[in-house]
Symmetry: C2
Subunit: 412 residues, 2 copies
């Protein structure tokens, strides 16, 4: 470690690549629209493949459309892997996903320029469609739903032709699956997309894992009625019940140890007229935490609250699961490696969960996994205003470089 | 009173008229759509005019499009007046408005058949567009807003051509205005459109007045944010603030003496996605009571609550008035006349406010006013399921008949 700690990535080159990729899909308002499977996605992939090859990697595309760049190791061994995605949401930013991919390539290029090889092969992976179907990471983890509706592909797309556009193949998607035998550990560098690091004033987030999520649709049936003629005590006001649910959801999260989050993000009132007591409300509850036990306890409390609120407001409340995603804890020794590297490089660091989904979540189901976060200015993401300063991006890339060195030792 | 108490209306004829009118605008699903100014409205007016003339009335239409049938009295004196409306909401019922108009005509027809004349002329009025602009009753009360936007006419209509369709005239609308010198007292029979009479098991409602209304639009500005990455304590959740407003509005009404009502009927969330902390909520608050002081107190409490909620939730809350309608109290001696008649006819009765708007509200601004309610089954109105039993309709018409006799004595 002593010798290699002097090594660092070429920060100017990394930032140049980030700027170059940001031009592809840039809209007039500064947002970046580089949706998976579009011409912009293909153009960005083409460029990234060039950079991979220039860095000394061999490049292939698997059946899930994932680009896998491999930098050969000294030994026949399972690979170490890093990577992320280069597709964006419809109004995305320049760093989300992109930083992880390009920092990975820069790490390899740095090794290559310094005539260094690891014991393990090192893979840099560009995962397919992280922002919508996550079909790339899912195919690698072997958890692709076979039904296109469960796949949550962007509307109007067919999975067969979409994958074909990227050189993937839906019919042989099973061949994309990897296991712990192929990949010894996966580590992803990503912008935080939240304001925690900025808030605590730390340079690097050591991710404890990716939170699980339980999302439900709640339907409250009251009785629509004249807002003038219906006395308060004869009402079955679905919105009064919904208001109690909104506040209960918040209280449930605040009442738990750790720092789970719970959100009512969507709420629709029927008939939604000023002079009619609301008859029906539909709302969503989204609860996330690193601990499955915490999520389960919040769900139990929610169900208890829903029963009490239904009784108190003379309404009928039903609940329907929408999503149920298990937490993906980061592997303790990968976390420890990242922490040691930060200490070594003199960078302040902070242990935190990732509360957004990432490709690493799926990878965590099949192999050892860790994530490195760098700060997002004001916590903004999924916006052209997304920003992480060059210094912070480069610090993240250097943490990734040295973490890979550490993992190369640990998994020897 | 002793002699006349034997007199009663022809219930079969009244119910026959109600059934006949219900055929005009009846939809396949049983609802009635007889919007003001439409061919259906004109057809119904044509029929009602025929019935007025057959009952011995002279008929005219004023500049507000109101049909005024007059049954001459024995003396030159201000008229006694009754009436209501025959237009419906888009999915209306057979009784709302119609009962008051047709019972008025039936009262006159009963007098006519029995060769009876009052001291006062007796007018039966069909008011124009009660369900939307109330332009008929407003023109008679001399409170027509001159700006078409304030008139709240149904979308797509022009007031000039609309009134012309019914024989009215926007240019001379001022001529429709009446005063206490023209009309000594106005009494309106109407279905309750609420479930209070059914709930207390009474045959007749003696209306204490028509409640005033204060309606506001509240806008709550928080900060839309990622529902996963934004910690609970860093959120500015507009929906959490809105939920507190919804519950505060209910508590404000419940905490007042009397039985005011207060409703959040409409609430819209932006961006309204399951995975985004709500950034903006728009909602309406509608507060009604018979007492202006009560409404004012509720408004003050609301404003205080909004300030407290904004502070507690780190949001900005603004409020904009939408409607401000003064209560229209019923005249005590008209209320007393209705009560005495109920006692005389052996009908159970109940003093109650009208919590819906009516033509009588506007009439109350210019002359002595009272209203008679009969029960609405399950409180349903503005629906094809609206129902008041024949017995209840006929009881209402008989209370109207004898109340007019009483008023004829009182105002002599």
């Amino acid at each position: 470690m002593a010798v290699l700690s002097a090594l660092s990535v070429n920060g100017d080159r990394l930032m140049g690549w980030i700027d170059r990729l940001a031009k592809i899909g840039r809209l007039a308002n500064g947002d970046i629209c580089r949706l998976a499977f579009t011409a912009e996605d293909v153009q960005a992939r083409y460029l990234v493949q060039q950079w991979m090859m220039e860095a000394g990697m061999t490049v292939r595309t698997d059946a899930g459309g994932n680009i896998i760049g491999t930098y050969a190791g000294l030994r026949e061994a399972p690979a170490l892997a890093t990577g992320s995605h280069i597709d964006t949401v419809p109004s995305g930013g320049a760093y989300d996903g992109v930083l992880g991919v390009l920092a990975g390539i820069e790490v390899v290029r740095t090794l290559h320029e310094n005539h260094l090889r690891l014991q393990h092969p090192l893979e840099v992976i560009v995962f397919t469609d992280e922002e919508s179907s996550m079909v790339g990471a899912r195919s690698m983890a072997g958890v692709v739903p076979r039904s296109p509706t469960e796949l949550k592909l962007r509307e109007g797309l067919a999975i067969e032709s979409s994958l074909e556009t990227l050189g993937g193949n839906w019919d042989t998607i099973g061949t994309a699956q990897r296991t712990h035998d192929h990949i010894a550990a996966f580590v992803e560098l990503h912008v935080e997309q939240g304001a925690v690091l900025e808030h605590v004033g730390k340079a690097v987030g050591v991710v404890q894992g990716i939170v699980g999520m339980r999302r439900s649709k709640i339907t409250i049936l009251g009785q629509a009625n004249h807002a003038g003629t219906t006395p308060m005590d004869l009402r079955q006001d679905a919105l009064v019940a919904a208001a109690q649910v909104v506040l209960a959801v918040r209280e449930i999260a605040l009442g738990m140890p750790g720092s789970p989050v719970a959100t009512v993000g969507s709420l629709t009132v029927l008939p939604n007229a000023a002079n009619i007591v609301p008859g029906t409300v539909d709302l969503t509850v989204d609860m996330r935490d690193l601990s499955q036990a915490c999520i389960d306890t919040m769900q139990e409390r929610l169900e208890r609250e829903l029963r009490a609120i239904a009784t108190a407001t003379d309404t009928q409340i039903s609940s329907e699961p929408l999503l149920n995603v298990a937490p993906s804890p980061a592997t303790p020794q990968v976390q420890a490696a990242i922490t040691q590297v930060c200490q070594h490089l003199g960078l302040s660091h902070y242990e935190m969960p990732s509360r957004a989904g990432h490709d690493a979540m799926e990878m965590g189901y099949i192999t050892d996994m860790g994530m490195i976060f760098v700060p997002s200015q004001s916590g903004l993401s999924h916006s052209g205003h997304e920003y992480t300063a060059p210094k912070q991006c480069i610090q993240g890339a250097n943490v990734l470089l040295h973490t890979i060195f550490r993992l190369d030792e640990i998994y020897s």
